[in-house]
């Protein structure tokens, strides 16, 4: 199982794939990201990679289970999904969604 | 290596902004040198064959080649092509300046390979006289560079006077 993530071209913010619509199908809240089966995930990534005027740096994050990214990338992905762990900006993603952390 | 505007076939343009035809043909090392025609030799072949060749040839210089090895044969060289296999390899800029400023080479110095509009200004400043430019509008590129870059801080191999020279020329006038 995987999540598809990228940065939005215009403001660089981290976004997550939830559906194929642009822009509303890509969300800032990782908790709303679509859990993708591996084969499906690869196909969606390939389909979105060329859409460079919308997103940049798209890649897949493998999940151990529905909510836990694989260990190898855990710290990085956790920080990426939740905003800086030092909590210095008011708009950190997790806080913006009223949760202690996104995952 | 990325190639901006690489969808366009490269066109040869002079530092003055004129698109010109390329009459030169790069010879593979195993190809015989024909009786007529303008041939560009690889660096290795130039070093091996120029001592015994009559006539004048082009030479292709790759990034790792030392242009100073050509010193004995400069009068047999009618054109130098400086190759940029990827635009991020900047050795060709030094090659062009050495050729023009240290060795006094007066023939055309041509940039070939990954030659893009975003590097064209630097290339012209280093003494390139022709660019095989990967761009749909090479004339526009040269005109744009000339309008954009009026001043340069440092001297190089082109006609730009460094800003310090302009500053102090003005004070004296």
């Amino acid at each position: 199982m995987k999540l598809l993530t990228a940065n939005r071209l215009t403001d660089g913010l981290v976004i997550w794939y939830a559906s194929d619509n642009w822009p509303e199908g890509w969300v800032e809240d990782a908790a709303l990201a679509k859990r993708l089966e591996d084969a499906e995930a690869d196909a969606i990534l390939e389909a979105w990679k060329p859409r460079e005027t919308e997103i940049v740096g798209a890649y897949l994050i493998p999940l151990v289970d529905e909510n836990t990214p694989v260990q190898r990338e855990y710290v990085r992905e956790h920080v990426r999904a939740n905003g800086p762990s030092i909590g210095q900006t008011a708009l950190d993603t997790a806080k913006a969604h009223n949760r202690p952390e996104v995952f | 290596m990325s190639q901006p505007n690489s969808a366009s076939a490269p066109q040869l343009i002079t530092a003055e902004g004129q698109v010109i035809a390329n009459d030169w043909q790069l010879l593979a090392d195993e190809d015989a040198i024909g009786a007529d025609g303008a041939y560009v030799l690889t660096f290795k072949r130039a070093l091996a064959d120029l001592p015994t060749l009559n006539g004048r040839y082009g030479v292709r210089i790759e990034p790792g080649d030392d242009v100073r090895e050509l010193i004995p044969y400069l009068d047999k060289i009618a054109l130098v092509e400086v190759s940029f296999p990827g635009y991020r390899d900047g050795r060709g800029y030094s090659t062009a300046r050495i050729l023009k400023q240290n060795l006094g080479f007066t023939g055309p110095i041509r940039a070939v390979g990954d030659v893009l509009r975003d590097q064209a200004h630097y290339m012209l400043r280093c003494g390139f006289t022709e660019l095989l430019l990967k761009d749909a509008d090479p004339e526009g590129v040269i005109a744009w560079i000339k309008s954009l870059y009026q001043y340069s801080y440092q001297s190089a191999a082109d006609a730009h006077k460094p800003v310090w020279a302009l500053r102090h020329a003005k004070t004296e006038a």
Binding site: D11, Y74, V75 | R88, Q119, Y151, Y153, S155
Partner: protein, 547 residues
């Protein structure tokens, strides 16, 4: 400080016009990300973990109050209300929108600033002594020379695509506060010209630069640098980016052979075409006069009364000021390392406060140090208490300069896409552990430097205690180095054993510090001196075994 003339303005404007066009082409899809990336990097725009980051050059760390106010405005308008001062004497904004970068660059141009060559494989901002023009131990002012280099290196056509980035540092004082020997080229001003060191650096293969030339006349500086760069551009390795810095070339050739090649290239250059004439050097020097010092006698009695009445002020004076060449004046360091804070960060409001103080009491001038603090280089001693109170009210009154909580830390994995581990939370934990002012004063000078990866933006190799974050199967670990220093006795620290977890680091450091306090001969023997006297092994055990 240096003031742009119409040529300088025109050159920044032409770049902004070019970059605006490049951004437009990227947003419209005319160029791809692959094509755009090197172009944006040459303008200091990175895509980091959470957003775009813009790195703005602070040439040789010198700032006017007007420029700091502009930073505050940018932080407020285009970012999330703060900026991060870096170990390269620059400032970074962490939450920038690509589409707004051209507007930000135009705003910066209004105050004679830019982001040119703050990234990419080119000649970067020249760094120098944050106390230049003020310190008592200065032989010659490095700032005019740094400005000369800034102009020469800006859009240098031959050196825009070097094997790797290239950093030059200059010092003009006997105490090296600019860490010149861990730079690609380090310049030491002496009475008989420049001593030139080449091939130093941190990162993957740290090296202390050897001397390659002594007594280089200032008028010949640019042509000599041009020769140094040409040899590097032609022969620096390009097959492996980890081996592409000049330190690898100098080590491979040997310092003597590198120097010989530079000399040969230098002699072949048309030096007169490259070297700015004396009139230009004099013109640049004329922008760096001593300030028109306030002619007011220092009131020692009032100063002593203030110190007696406010012990925190007394401590701040003791720790955060440096002797000035004008005896009524002093240089002061505003610590951007509040206990538990983010090293090097300042909010928009704090930047405004510092700009106002500079205008009111410091002849409008500020500096950034590579230690990520802000300096008011010229302050009359009668104004110190007022300044202190205003700083303290803005959360800028920390009195810890050069002490254990005055840590250098890179942004680490909280922001940086290259990082392997977080730096800031660890700095915060260590800071809280040594919060006690008395303990911190007792320990005295101790420099901790933290990097979140081997690229060493946090200068961990030259920390008295260096900390390097590494990633082991997705878990952060920290290797501890001991014995590095960045001063005129530059030395590289050595790794002391296996990595520690983030939770274990503060306690390990505390054990080392306790051992130092037990072992030092007297309070004037600094940590680094005791370490030098007794050797690393003495402290290694304390690091790794709970006492």
């Amino acid at each position: 400080m240096y003031v742009y003339d119409h040529y300088d303005h025109a050159i920044v404007k032409q770049r902004n016009a070019e970059f605006s066009d490049q951004v437009r082409r990227r947003l419209s899809g005319e160029i791809t990300e692959d094509q755009f990336k090197p172009l944006r990097l040459m303008n200091g725009v990175y895509l980091q973990l959470h957003a775009y980051m813009l790195r703005v050059a602070v040439p040789y760390g010198v700032l006017s109050s007007r420029q700091v106010r502009k930073f505050a405005h940018i932080a407020r308008t285009y970012d999330r209300g703060f900026g991060h001062f870096t170990t390269r004497q620059n400032i970074q904004f962490n939450w920038i929108k690509l589409a707004e970068v051209p507007a930000i660059l135009d705003e910066l141009a209004e105050v004679e600033m830019h982001a040119i060559q703050t990234s990419g494989n080119c000649i970067r901002n020249t760094t120098t002594d944050q106390f230049a023009g003020a310190a008592k131990d200065e032989i010659d002012d490095p700032r005019p020379w740094a400005e000369l280099i800034r102009q020469w290196s800006t859009f240098h056509p031959e050196y825009a695509f070097l094997p790797r980035k290239f950093k030059i540092a200059i010092t003009g004082a006997t105490e090296d506060r600019a860490a010149v020997r861990v730079h690609d080229i380090g310049l030491q001003l002496t009475e008989r010209g420049f001593d030139v060191y080449a091939g130093g650096g941190l990162g993957r293969t740290p090296a202390v630069a050897p001397l390659i030339k002594s007594g280089l006349p200032g008028e010949k500086l640019l042509s000599y640098l041009e020769a140094c760069l040409r040899v590097y551009n032609r022969y620096g390795r390009r097959d492996n980016s980890y081996k592409a810095r000049i330190k690898i070339l100098v080590a491979a050739l040997g310092a003597e052979e590198y120097a010989r090649q530079v000399e040969a290239e230098w002699n072949a250059l048309d030096q007169d075409a490259i070297d700015a004439p004396y009139a230009e050097i004099a013109r640049i020097k004329s922008f760096f006069p001593a300030p028109a010092y306030k002619a007011e006698a220092f009131d020692q009695a009032a100063f002593d009364r203030a110190k007696a009445a406010d012990s925190r002020f007394a401590r701040w004076v003791r720790n955060n000021t440096l002797a000035h060449r004008n005896d009524d004046h002093i240089s002061l360091t505003i610590s951007l390392k509040p206990i538990g804070g983010v090293p090097g960060d300042a909010s928009d409001a704090q930047m405004d406060v510092m700009a106002d103080l500079a205008d009111d009491y410091a002849y409008g001038e500020l500096r950034v140090s590579h230690e990520q603090n802000i300096i008011l280089p010229h302050v009359h001693r009668n104004d110190l208490y007022t300044i202190y109170q205003k700083l303290d009210a803005a959360g800028l009154g920390e009195a810890n300069v050069a002490q254990i909580t005055d840590m250098i830390a890179c942004p680490g994995l909280d922001y940086c896409s290259l990082a392997n581990a977080r730096s800031i939370p660890l700095a915060q934990d260590i800071s809280r552990r040594f919060e006690d002012a008395q303990l911190s004063d007792t320990i005295g000078e101790l420099k901790i430097k933290i990097s979140g990866c081997i690229n060493a933006c946090g200068h961990h190799h030259v920390g008295h205690i260096g900390i390097l974050g590494v990633d082991k199967q997705g878990v952060e670990f920290y290797q501890i180095l001991l014995g590095g220093r960045a001063d005129e006795k530059a030395a590289l620290g050595a790794i002391t054993g296996k990595g520690l977890s983030a939770e274990d680091v503060p306690a390990a450091i505390e054990r080392v510090v306790k051992l130092y306090l037990e072992l030092r001969t007297d309070p004037s023997e600094r940590f680094i001196d005791t370490l030098g006297r007794l050797g690393r092994d003495t402290f290694k055990e304390a690091l790794h075994e709970p006492a």
